[in-house]
């Protein structure tokens, strides 16, 4: 009777252990998978030289000229996207007595530019990279380049350049004058 009970007890214990073992096995696995997801959206960025100097070559009041180089990185949305690079004179020339974008000393004085550059290297369909003789403004953004849908730059970026022309008005007092131009790139 006792022996039978002990045997039953041992069997019960073994059964419990086996049941426990099976339960643990269901909690884990030797492998596991996870789905890695990423949503790639439109985005854009650019780098631009901090300083561009304008100089006049010759003595007969030829205009001051200079250029600014940009590197842009861009991705626009497939089918419906677009983008642009624009510029605006956010701080006019200073000190007073020299050129002025906002209030030219003489009618016809102006800071103008012509842009040019390479279309996005991984599809530049619809991109316009050149704008000619655009007058810079302190109040409005003006185009440097515009982009179409699904435009994508190279990983190392693509280049764009702005060639400046500033009237050399004899009215300007001698001196050194500085203005700040802000470039903005956008993509949707």
């Amino acid at each position: 009777m006792i022996k039978k009970f002990l045997i039953l007890s041992i069997l019960a214990t073994i059964a419990i252990v086996l049941t426990s073992s099976q339960a643990n096995a269901q909690l884990g696995s030797g492998t596991g998978t996870t789905t890695l997801s990423v949503t790639v959206g439109a985005e854009a960025g650019l780098t631009v030289a901090a300083t561009s100097n304008l100089t006049s070559v010759g003595t007969n009041f030829t205009s001051f000229t200079g250029s600014t180089a940009l590197t842009y990185y861009l991705r626009t949305t497939q089918s419906t996207g677009s983008g642009s690079i624009t510029l605006k004179v956010t701080t006019d020339f200073a000190p007073a007595g020299g050129p002025s974008v906002g209030t030219p000393p003489t009618a016809g004085d102006a800071l103008t530019y012509t842009s040019s550059g390479s279309a996005p290297g991984n599809n530049g369909t619809g991109a316009v990279m050149a704008f000619t003789n655009v007058t810079a403004s302190t109040t409005a953004q003006t185009n440097v380049a515009t982009f179409g849908a699904d435009n994508r730059s190279l990983f190392a970026g693509n280049s764009e350049s702005v060639a400046w022309t500033l009237t050399n008005d004899p009215k300007y007092k001698t001196g050194t004058y500085s203005a700040t131009v802000t470039f903005t790139i956008s993509a949707s």
Partner: protein
């Protein structure tokens, strides 16, 4: 019910304690084993900033492991078992759109074994390390000689290049983690 059986059984056993019924040796053979627990089904990579910062994300892998005394070892690896749909123009592990594009990861905080070394590049053809050098005689949980942590954990921190060449859209890949023990 079980408690009742035990209570009933202990009485007779005590009363006849002087009677030897025989002895039995119970042998337990534990084999090396490893299991991954609480595994996350998905991980979304994201990024901040606008100048093509890489996409990042992290998951914590939970594991339990037992290795053979003296000679055993263990490890956790991962492999991209399903690539992004490369033909869609997005990221691609097997054939990166641009040289240098990659899905990479680092491993931190392994509570048993060693973190993978440096920055690993995920692959569709070979399994790469997540946790290495799980020592012989290791086991998870309960304190010495096993680990204090139960389960053991390791964090895997992913980075995916944000190449301007990628077309806009949503892309998915599948990563398979494997734990092994000897």
């Amino acid at each position: 019910m079980l408690a009742a059986l035990v209570a009933l059984g202990l009485g007779p056993i005590a009363a006849r304690a002087q009677t030897t019924l025989g002895t039995q040796t119970l042998n337990l053979i534990t084999l090396p084993d490893g299991l991954l627990y609480g595994f996350p089904n998905s991980l979304t990579l994201s990024h901040s900033g606008t100048l093509f910062n890489s996409y990042t994300g992290a998951i914590t892998v939970q594991y339990r492991v037992r290795t053979t005394a003296a000679t055993g070892s263990g490890s956790i690896t991962l492999q991209a078992s399903a690539d992004f749909i490369c033909a869609s123009g997005g990221p691609c592990i097997a054939t990166p759109p641009t040289a240098g594009d990659a899905l990479t990861y680092t491993c931190t905080g392994a509570t048993l074994g060693s973190n993978c070394t440096g920055t690993q590049t995920a692959s569709t053809v070979v399994a790469t390390n997540v946790v290495t050098a799980i020592p012989a005689g290791s086991c998870t949980g309960g304190g010495s000689p096993c680990s204090t942590a139960n389960p053991n954990t390791v964090s895997v921190n992913f980075t995916l290049t944000d190449d301007p060449k990628y077309k806009t859209g949503s892309y998915s890949a599948t990563l398979t983690f494997t734990i092994s023990a000897t």
